[in-house]
């Protein structure tokens, strides 16, 4: 049966915001998984950070916690500790995960909890009116940094690879079918899956927008050396390089619930701590 994934809340994203398309792709992905009988609607649980992306909490009818800024990842890991049979989706922005929550981002790959991080990257703190984030390009002028960003941006894909990520993918907020299939693969991955969605903000840091023509699709990759090369192609700074989309790296490692005997017992018995 098709799950009802809509809510009664009024959508307050800006007209035309690509977050609407991300929401559509997330709903399609969950619908397909539920309709195919692979997962139950009640088994999905989300954590959302704070920022424009996080409003998805109000529009997506699944369980979850609307977290504090920077903490969607550890709270999501907590849900998998509390019940490793739940399907956890964590939504975070580039400000949330890379600035306020960087320690959690790096450690998430180490723990390899079975969950999916959906990272909306528009290279801007938009809900707080456009301050630069760790992935904003050099020279970006904003109200908090009127002299322009001096520093080179971080490359989160390279960081994730260095942190032994077991699933890294990139997709485009304007491409609903690609987002849907990428998210489905991420949710099906056993371990911590990281999906970066390249997204425009229509109001702030508009110079970073319009990268669609640089994007191209790659084949699913599981070669680490190759992944390192793919990760180098887009530097978040200039528009000179190409932007590869697809599964940049996937490997098979034990997930958190497979490593810890206490959690393994719960997943084997398909139960929670109450029936331990």
């Amino acid at each position: 049966m098709k799950p009802n994934l809509t809510t009664k809340s009024e959508v307050t994203w800006c007209p035309g915001c690509p977050n609407n398309m991300i929401l559509a792709a997330v709903r399609q992905s969950i619908s397909k998984l539920v309709e195919s009988g692979k997962n139950k609607h009640e088994d999905f649980a989300m954590t959302t950070d704070i920022g424009c992306h996080a409003k998805i909490f109000d529009y997506l009818n699944i369980s979850g916690i609307y977290c504090l800024h920077g903490r969607a990842i550890p709270t999501g890991i907590g849900i998998t500790l509390g019940n490793p049979n739940l399907k956890v989706l964590t939504f975070a922005g580039d400000g949330a995960a890379y600035a306020e929550g960087m320690a959690h981002f790096i450690h998430a790959f180490k723990y390899n909890a079975d969950m999916t991080l959906v990272l909306h990257d528009n290279q801007s703190f938009s809900l707080t009116t456009g301050q630069p984030t760790p992935t904003s390009q050099q020279g970006y002028i904003s109200k908090s940094e009127p002299l322009g960003v001096f520093d080179k941006p971080m490359n989160p894909i390279k960081l994730a690879l260095a942190a032994n990520a077991t699933f890294i993918a990139r997709t485009n907020a304007r491409d609903i079918p690609h987002m849907t299939s990428t998210l489905t693969k991420a949710i099906n991955h056993k371990g911590f899956s990281f999906v970066e969605i390249i997204q425009d903000c229509l109001i702030f840091n508009k110079d970073a927008n319009g990268k669609d023509e640089l994007m191209y699709k790659i084949k699913d990759n599981s070669d680490k050396k190759k992944a390192e090369k793919i990760a180098e192609e887009f530097d978040y700074n200039s528009k000179s390089g190409k932007i590869p989309l697809g599964i940049i790296y996937q490997s098979k490692e034990k997930s958190l619930a497979e490593k810890w005997p206490q959690l393994k017992k719960l997943t084997d018995k398909k139960t929670n701590w109450q029936n331990k």
Partner: protein, 507 residues
Amino acid sequence: MRLNIIIGGKAGQGINKVSNIVSNVLGKYGYFTFNYRDYQSLVRGGHNFNALSISDSPTESNDTTIDILAALDDRSVKNHKQSLKKDGMIMTAEKFENEGRNINIAIAGAVLKILGIPLIELENEIKSQFKKYEEALVSAKKGFDSQKEKFSLKKLNNKIAILSGSEAIVVGARNSEIDLYIAYPMTPATNAMHAIANKQVENNLMVFQAENEIAAASMAIGSSFAGAKTMTATSGGGFDLMGETLSLQGISGIPLTVYLASRPGPGTGVPTYTAQADLDIALRAGHGEFPRIVIAPGNPIETIEKTSEALFLAEKFKTLSIILSDKHLSESEFSSTEKPNKTPKFKITRTLPGKDIVKNSSYEVDKYGNSTEDPVLTEKNADKRTEKYNEIKKFVEKNFEMTKIHGKKNSKNLVIGWGSTSGAIKDAIKNLDAKFLQVLYCKPLSPQIKKEIKKANKVILVECNITGQLGRLIREKTGIKIENRLLKYNGRPFQSDELKTLIKNKL
């Protein structure tokens, strides 16, 4: 009868083993012991000592003067000989140099001989402690035979159990069938983490070390949301980091229990010593206004009871419970013949994700659990949180022990204190015309406190902090300012004889 022993040495020389063997043997021989551990923030060297008090009646403190100084190094003699009583004795490790790493076992044997304990008691203890005990037994006997009996302790019939505050946290948590303990190491909270991590698989629970305290608290919230009985733990500095998560608890209503074992601040302060200076943050940390429970046990038996109550109340009222302890309570080894009260058992009965759709939020929410900025709902939600606190208060007043009275019940001289200081106060007021009101629940605060203060002619506040934090709380809730204050804030706990003199001077 009361004897005080100091066992001193360098970190790494094993003074804890000495007090451990002596306390265990004395416990089985029917004597109450109290062992305070004074150690520096270093791994090897320096000067550490244990103060071990022995009594034929319950005791939870040390005295300033000592009967036996067992010194594993010269610095221990230098530092403590001025505390010796006139007939006090010094015993050094010189005689036992050949015992190598078993010097501490020889010292334990020597102390027990001085106390007049039969050799067989020592031998039994050594056999129960070591798998390969032959070598240890030789050292213990060598120590034992090197001394003359000085105090002839006769066997008593008390059934004594020895427990530290940290171990008691674990007993309480396990009595409540805890599932997850998520923390980041910080003295003096870490010993409880070590104790619960040991045998976690056999005990059907999980201990997870997070990347920092913010993550620990966030994971605790996440796992509690998913239906696990969860606790997190830290000291003051880590608690500061958890502040935002406490606030998230307040609005989201996801049950959360935090064990806060405090030490002297501000900043890194004196990290391996003690203070009661974090009552303020336990009561107020976290932005916004929301209900919470703060419970401060004074000894391990109370810690067992209050840990279970904290977990029970957090789940029942979907609220924040804080168990407030400190280095003195968590790391000292107490002895007792008492048994804790029956555990308030509970099951999680709320709707959980996996069964239905459950939404909890850091925003104010509408009836669906989605965000709202509506003024009517904003006000209504705040009212609900306040109403919840009123319910908590009513329930706790009816069901749990919020205060205790010790000493002369009809005395007009009232001493007020809380937490680990309670031990020294209980011992200090013995034979004085005074009663001691021990505050166990700091939030909610018992209405009994005001009544007791009104009945008294003289009220004395005793705390290990510089501003009298409980005194300020009592003033806030009752309008009564306690003028007589005995405050200690050098990182060391009150000693009972020291405190007795101070109280006497106020009477």
